[in-house]
Structures are given as C-alpha cells and as structure tokens.
Symmetry: C2
Subunit: 201 residues, 2 copies
DNA sequence: CCAAATTCTTATCTTTTGTTAACGTTTTGA
DNA sequence: TCAAAACGTTAACAAAAGATAAGAATTTGG
C-alpha cells in the first residue's frame, strides 16, 4: 500500500470522530507519518514512554504484560483501530505494556509532540480537542464493558459472550491469547470449550 | 452546604481540567444545577438513559449490577469525583448499572442537553471539548489499570494492591462491596484476609 | 431503646481454576 | 524441505473460589 492510500484510509477511518476541510487536512496531515512495523517488532515496551499513537491501516497488534517470565495478552488492535500504550501516551510516564505487531503492520502515526503542536495551533485546536474527546470516550465505553464483564460474569460467560460478539478476535487470534484476554489460562479455556461442547449435546 | 459553596468547590475541583474566566463562568454555571440525593436513592437505574453527570461535593455513591437477584458492586465515587452511568450518558442508550447514594449526597450536575448546548456555544465549545477530553482520558487511565489488574493479578494480589493504594475505599466501604469490586465473593475475600494474617506471622 | 437488618467470619462441600507435563498436530522459518 | 517452535487438548493433582448456612458482633432505624 502506498502512503496516499494509507492516508486516505486514515481520513476515512476517523470520519466518525472528525472531518477536516481541505485546508485543515493539509496542515493536519503534515503532522502524520506513515510507518511500518514488521511482524514481532515492538510498537511500545515497558519502562519507556510511549510518545505516539498509531492508526492501523493493515495488520494487527497485541498488547501484553510479562509476569514471572510469562506473557499475558490483554488486548488486540486491528485495521481501522488505534494503537498506543494509552496511559503512557496520555500521562507521559513510562508504560508497563508491550505492544507488538502480530503481522507486518502498516499504520498512520502521530507523536505526542505533534499532538501538542496541533492543540496549540488555532487552526486545528478545536477539532483536535474534539477528536481526542470522542476517541477517549469510545475507549472508555469499551473499558467499562470489559470491567463489568470481569465483575459480573464467570469466565465461561465471558467466553460465551465473546463467541457472540468477538468474531474478529476469535478468527484471528490463537486460543491462548484469547484465554489471557478473558482473564484465565489456556488450559482453563480449553476445558470451558469442552464443557460447552458436551452441554450442547 | 449552600449552593454558592457547592459551586465554588466544583470550580476548584475541575481546575485541573479547565479554568474559566469570569465571563465564561457566568455562562457555564447557568448550565449547572445543584442537587441532593438522599441516602439509598438512585442517581441512575438500568433500562433508563442516564442523561446527566454529577460532581460530588459531599457524600458518596456506589455503582452496582444486579445478577440473579444479587447486587454486585463495581465501583464507587467520592467527594471531588464525577458520577454518571458513563456509557449510557455518552451513547444516549439505556444503561445497565444502578448508581446509588451511600449517604446523603450533594452534587453539582449538568445534563446531556446542557452539555450539547455548551458544545454548540462558541463562547464555551472549545473549553468544554477540552474539559471532556481530559476527563475521559483520566477515566480511561483508571479503567486501563483496572483491566490490567484483572488480567495479570490474582484476587489476593489485587487486594494487596488495594491495601497499599485504596485508602478511601477501604475506610469507607463495607468489605463485601470491596470483594465485588475485586471480582470475588465476600466469603472469598474473608479467606484471603485470613491467609494474609497467617502469612504475616 | 430494642428488634431487625447488616456485616463479617467460619465451616462444609462442590465446582472451577491453576500448574505441570505429556502428546499429537500444525505452523514457521531457515 | 525439514527441524524447531507453537498450538490445542487432555490428565492428574493441588489450590483457590463459589455456594450455602450458621453464628456472633455491629449497625440501623423506627
């Protein structure tokens, strides 16, 4: 994919948050950078500040933590979604999360510095504030659902719900990542699947 | 507490997000309403759209879900914090959460309609967008931490962490609410506390 | 002030999950 | 193409959590 195609996908992808006129777009896009990440390479690592946000035009990433030498996968992002170690980006503090490309991934990126410049530029400030608000609000809603599911549902119920709503994750992610995402071990998810199969008979 | 005191606490409380000059404040505060909620009364209930956000100047609320006839407490808000069934407020769709006053609670409120009016008012729009962005970002960070704790920690580890960071919750909330908040049953939290006591010896 | 409700702990029993390891299958990458 | 790595299932056992119930202490609300 060439840069112009990537930018155009990005512009289309963020339409639901904000639309720029041509003059604005010219300035805005000067703050964007097209960037590729080879499979298994890292977008963010712990102990470092993640000073950028990406928007995936092709590929996918996973978010994971390392505990006692083991990976624990907490989240995924696919095409048309943002990537960042959000808390680190927003607070400017070092993060605790690995963000790794699961396949060769192409993204449109902007840095914290660029975001701050745009927020300080009267031509863009208003729309960037709004853009940021709407994106943060959307992620807030996702997180709210996720927390509620941990509080109110059993692992089996969480998996059943994922079966009915999580097409992309189920199709594109190996099962042991999905287990982590649900807050359980891969062995436990395998058993849950078995239980469901038997109950279905 | 009289209305003027409440408004002043509110203005002080949101300073970290946005500061208004006197002219802006006059307009902004016309969209605010001071409101009291008696203990055990509801700020929001499931199946209804929560069309308002409050800022607690005195009191506290808890958020809970009902599952199989049982309460499951998911969160709390105290003085100087916002209250809403956020997803319902942001999306305009009916919520799934009860939000209930734990004590007589006084808050400063604005409705979705007021927020939309302010966003449409050139005098306030920019600051309100920014205000909304910063608040959403902060809550996003809280939720991120919470999800990570469910993914990477055992219930015991979550409780230990709460012991070191959750002063207010621990002091003001009964233990069975805290158990729910940690994603476990009250009985299980009681056992965890016992284990910790024994290990400490 | 007192009965009722709430809160916390403890015990018992059942169910589920975690841990570790083994095994066959599939995928990967050199 | 082929060895190594990754993946999913299963088993066996230990550890933890859920469900239920009982009982004591505390709080509450009229």
């Amino acid at each position: 994919m060439n840069n112009s195609e990537a930018l155009s996908l990005f512009r289309k992808g963020i339409e639901k948050y904000v639309e720029f006129n041509e003059a604005e777009w010219i300035v805005f896009s000067q703050h964007l950078k097209i960037s590729s990440l080879k499979k298994k390479h890292y977008f963010a690592v712990p102990e470092k500040v993640c000073d950028k946000v990406g928007f995936i035009v092709e590929g996918a990433v996973r978010y994971f933590h390392v505990k006692d030498g083991q990976d624990i996968t907490g989240y995924f992002s696919f095409e048309n979604e943002f990537v960042s170690s959000y808390k680190s980006f927003l607070t400017g503090q070092p993060g605790f999360t690995y963000v790794q490309a699961l396949a060769d991934t192409q993204m449109v990126m902007f840095t914290k510095k660029d975001m701050d410049q745009m927020l300080a530029n009267p031509m863009l400030a208003y729309k960037i504030e709004r853009f940021g608000r709407l994106v943060a609000e959307q992620y807030l809603c996702c997180y709210e659902d996720r927390v509620v599911s941990f509080i109110t549902q059993t692992p089996e119920e969480r998996y059943m719900q994922l079966l009915s709503t999580g097409r992309e994750i189920l199709q594109r992610m190996p099962q042991h990542y999905i287990a982590n995402y649900l807050g359980i071990t891969p062995v436990s998810l395998s058993r849950i699947r078995r239980r469901i199969l038997i109950d279905a008979k």
